[in-house]
Each structure stands twice: as C-alpha cells, then as structure tokens.
C-alpha cells in the first residue's frame, strides 16, 4: 500500500468481482439443493420414502398406504375427565361431528380385507372454533420400529425376492438384528387375536402427544379407541373364505342396526416413559382415563369430495394437543403429504381425461 509505484494488477483482477458474485449465488443455490435433498441421494427424504413404498408400481390415485378403505361419519362426545386433561374444544363441545375412514394396511386397493393383520381408523373432528383434530390410528398397539429410517429399511428387507416371490429370510434376519424392537411387533402380529369386525377392533394412536389443560398443566399421553362392541373371534378358515370386501360389508350391515361406539381411553405417561419412541409400549399399569365416546353412525364408499380427499395427518392438532418429538410421527406427516399430493394429482389427471 505504501509503495509509490504499485505493480500492475494481474490480468485476472477485473474478473475477481464476477468470481465473487458467482461464488455467492452458487453457494446459495448449492445450499438450497442440499436442503431439498438433491445433493444427498442416500438420505431418506419424504419423497424417497414414498418411492420405496411404491416400489415403482404405485396404485394410481390411491393412498400409498392403507389404500383400501371405507368412509365413515359420526360424532364425538367428551367426558369431564377429558376436559380436565386438555383444553381442546373437542372436550368441552357437547358433540363434535366426525368424518373418518376405516381401512386395512397395505398399498393394494383391492387387497382382501379379512386377511389384513392391520386395520385402521382415521378421523377428522371439526370443532366450532374452526380448529381440527386429525387422528390416524392403527390396530397395532405400538409401531414396528423406532425411526422412519428403520421403517424404510424394513420395507426394503421385506420386499419379495423376484426369484422366490417371498421376502429373503436372510435380509429379514439381518434387519431384525439391527432393529431388535421389531421382534415385539412380530410377536404381536403372530399372537394378537383376530376380531371379526372393524367395529370390535381397538385402534391406537401409537405416538405420544402432549395434552395441555385450561390451567396450563401439560402431560404426555397416548390414546386408544377401545371398542364397546363385544369381541368375537375370527378364525383363520373364515378369514380365508371371506369376500374381499368383508369388513366394509359387515360394518354396513351392523350400522343398519344402530351406531357403533368406541371409548377414547387416554393413557397418562409417568416420568421416564418413552415419549419419542413409538415402538416401546408403556407399562400396563399406567392410569387410563375415559375421555369421551366416538359414535360411528354411517359408512359409505369413498368418492370425490368425501374422506377420499382428506389427508389424515396426525400432526394436525387443535390447541390443547401437541405432537411429541417422536420422529415416526413427524415422518407420517411428511410421507402422507407426499402421498396426498401424488394421488390428488393422479386423480385430477384421471378426471380431466
């Protein structure tokens, strides 16, 4: 700087500002590409998880999971015990209209209902304050694995081997060794009794949520919809012989005789109970509170504008109920959004043609 005669600037000097501009714009673009997951093909993103579920052969226009189902409608009636746990309007409004869907697990919209190990109940409760509570519940009491990455791995490990048409036992074995929590789920799938109806099946929220009451007291809970209809066994030979639409047909016939009810049972966590791992059940002796009754009045086929067009995202919650930091719960929201976008786009394409 103090030289009286500085040397002539090098020839690249005039390009320096342009290099700087390109570096800044390029870094920003690269940062966005990284955020969107484009630079990390091995990272399981929401679209990639849904790709894995589709396995290149999606059932066009259907939910990527729980593709076969029936719409239901009814209402929810809370108890004072429920209102003591959460300030959500659903626990103070005498009756909240409920729209929902009962379905079987799996991506095949034509799968035989009686043979499905997993049954589900999804609901949307619309309260008069404009808020919504969406629930996505399953007949399994806990999730198979503790992370969405393990879930993606499980799908790959369970995929049928093209040579045998069956999953490769060695891959399944290796998966179970890496994620031993899956053994508990497999034991449930093996031994849990089969009921003969959607109506006498229990549906579990599986994930932990945080309830906050009007006094501002918060606690973690899990909930189940416990059927009031009596359990009736559904033996293997009857399941084999049943029509593909058995559960939906049976529900329709049952509802002709009057509504079907479930009790919303809220289980209260105690300190130390896992609230971020859906594969770990809480001890049986935890306090359970009857927080309300779900009354199912009608069932009808899926069609445009009804439950077909609802994304039952279990993280859409009213004030007074909040999600835990369970990564599988968050992954549900992410994957359901991808599935919803894809199937609605496919439906829109079908309707335009």
């Amino acid at each position: 700087m103090s030289d009286p005669l500085p040397p002539a600037p090098p020839r690249w000097r005039p390009w320096l500002p342009f290099l700087g501009i390109a570096a800044i714009a390029g870094s920003l673009a690269a940062a966005l590409a990284w955020t969107a997951g484009w630079l990390t093909p091995a990272r399981v993103t929401a679209p990639r998880l849904v790709d894995t579920i589709e396995n290149g052969k999606p059932f066009v226009g259907f939910r990527r999971a729980h593709a076969r189902g029936v719409c239901v409608a009814g209402h929810f009636e809370p108890t004072a015990e429920g209102a003591a746990l959460s300030k959500a309007r659903v626990f103070t409004q005498p009756r909240t209209p409920a729209l929902g869907r009962m379905s079987i697990g799996g991506g095949d919209p034509n799968g035989p209902e009686a043979m499905a190990r997993v049954r589900s109940l999804a609901l949307q409760l619309d309260t008069d304050d404009g808020q919504q509570w969406r629930l996505a519940m399953n007949s399994f009491p806990f999730f198979a694995v503790s992370t969405p990455q393990a879930f993606a791995e499980q799908i790959l490990a369970s995929r049928p081997d093209p040579a045998t048409g069956k999953p490769d036992p060695a891959k399944q074995q290796a998966f179970a060794e890496r994620h031993p929590e899956v053994l508990r789920f497999m034991a449930w799938a093996q031994s849990a009794p089969w009921s003969d109806s959607y109506a006498n099946t229990a549906y579990h929220g599986v994930h932990a949520f945080r309830f906050t009451n009007a006094a501002g007291e918060s606690r973690f809970v899990r909930w189940s919809f416990v059927p009031q209809a009596p359990f009736k066994d559904f033996p293997a030979d009857q399941r084999q012989a049943a029509e593909a639409s058995h559960l939906a047909d049976e529900l329709g016939a049952r509802l002709a005789g009057g509504p079907v009810r479930w009790t919303l049972a809220v289980t209260l966590a105690e300190p130390g109970d896992p609230v971020e791992d859906p594969s770990q059940p809480w001890p049986e002796e935890r306090t359970r509170v009857a927080a309300g009754t779900f009354v199912l009045e009608r069932a009808y086929p899926e069609a445009e504008g009804n439950c077909r067009d609802i994304n039952f995202d279990p993280t859409l919650l009213p004030s007074g109920i909040a999600a835990s930091r369970d990564p599988v719960l968050a992954a549900r929201a992410a994957a359901y959004a991808v599935s919803f976008h894809r199937r609605q786009r496919e439906r829109a394409g079908q309707e335009a043609n």
Binding site: F18, I24, L28, A333, E351
Partner: protein, 176 residues
C-alpha cells in the same frame, strides 16, 4: 437522506427484513417437503412467516407509491434498466402470489390455516382435488422461480456494487 439517490429508511427496513424472511421461507419450504423429521415444526414456521410477508408486501407497495424509489443513474444502459424494472415487477408479483397460493392450496387441500394462538383464517378456495393439485404445483414451481429471480437480483446488485460502482447498490444498502 437524499430521496433522489437513496431509498428511505422505511423502504430499506422493509427490503432487508423481507429479503431475510423470503430467503428463509424458500429454505424452510424446500426443507419441509424433503425432511422426514422436521416437517411439522417447519410448516408451523412457514405458514405465519408467509402470511407476514403478504402483510408486509401490502405495506411496502403502499409505501412505494407514496415514496417513489430513486431513479436508476443515466449510466445504466436502457436494456439493463428494463431488465431491472421487469425483475422488480416479478419480485413484487411473487411476494403477493406465493403467500396467496400457499393459503389457497391449503384450503383446496382441506387443511385449515391456523396461526399461532389458534387463530383460524377463512378458506381462500373450495376443497377440490384438481384445484389443490394445480395450486400445490404452482406454489412449488414458483417458489424455486422466486429463488432464481432473487439470485439474479442479488447478482445484479453486487454487479452494481463491485463492477459499475454507480451508487445503485448503495441506494438500498447505504448506511447514511
């Protein structure tokens, strides 16, 4: 502050605050459609922040009409001046379009638009599969287009700052 050469304080505050918010929105948006774990809290950030941008965009356009921006110096070639005006119009258009598309696509998808504190906004569109698809597609594509225009805008600004040194950058960035 000379109104002939510099944006006024309000305009500069609005510009820089919104620049930060809009860039954050693009990153949150791209992140929340990819991420398996972060979607629920990212969307709860994205929604009110997007609506805040809509509110500020209204304020900004109103302010701009009352306090016109300084003209470009005569040294800027006419073609570049036209490109600058077009990109500014595009940026303003997107500031309004993106939040409105996001709001409308939520409504068309059947999602309630709930703000922190439980405030529920009215639906901006009827619940409809085809409409949702269209709006969701537009919100995604225009989001990336917005980012592209922002990069051009930023590159142009730095070109004025470092190559032309004609005071255009300082009109918005100057600290006087």
């Amino acid at each position: 502050m000379d109104a002939k050469t510099h944006y006024d304080r309000t305009a500069r505050w609005l510009h820089w605050a919104m620049a930060a918010m809009i860039l954050a929105l693009v990153f949150i948006g791209a992140g929340m459609v990819a991420s398996l774990e972060a979607r629920p809290w990212l969307i709860e950030l994205h929604r009110p922040l997007g609506l805040l941008v809509l509110l500020l965009a209204v304020l900004r356009l109103w302010h701009r009409r009352r306090h016109p921006p300084p003209p470009l110096p005569d040294s800027v070639p006419p073609l570049q001046a036209r490109a600058a005006r077009a990109s500014h119009a595009l940026l303003y258009g997107l500031m309004f379009a993106m939040p409105l598309l996001g709001w409308a696509m939520s409504s068309a998808g059947g999602y309630p638009v709930v703000l922190p504190g439980g405030w529920v906004l009215p639906a901006l569109a009827p619940q409809d599969a085809a409409l949702y698809t269209w709006l969701r597609g537009a919100h995604g594509v225009l989001g990336y287009a917005f980012f592209g225009v922002i990069l051009l805008h930023l590159s142009g600004a730095l070109y004025h700052a470092w190559v032309r040194r004609d005071g255009v950058f300082e009109a918005m960035a100057g600290r006087r």
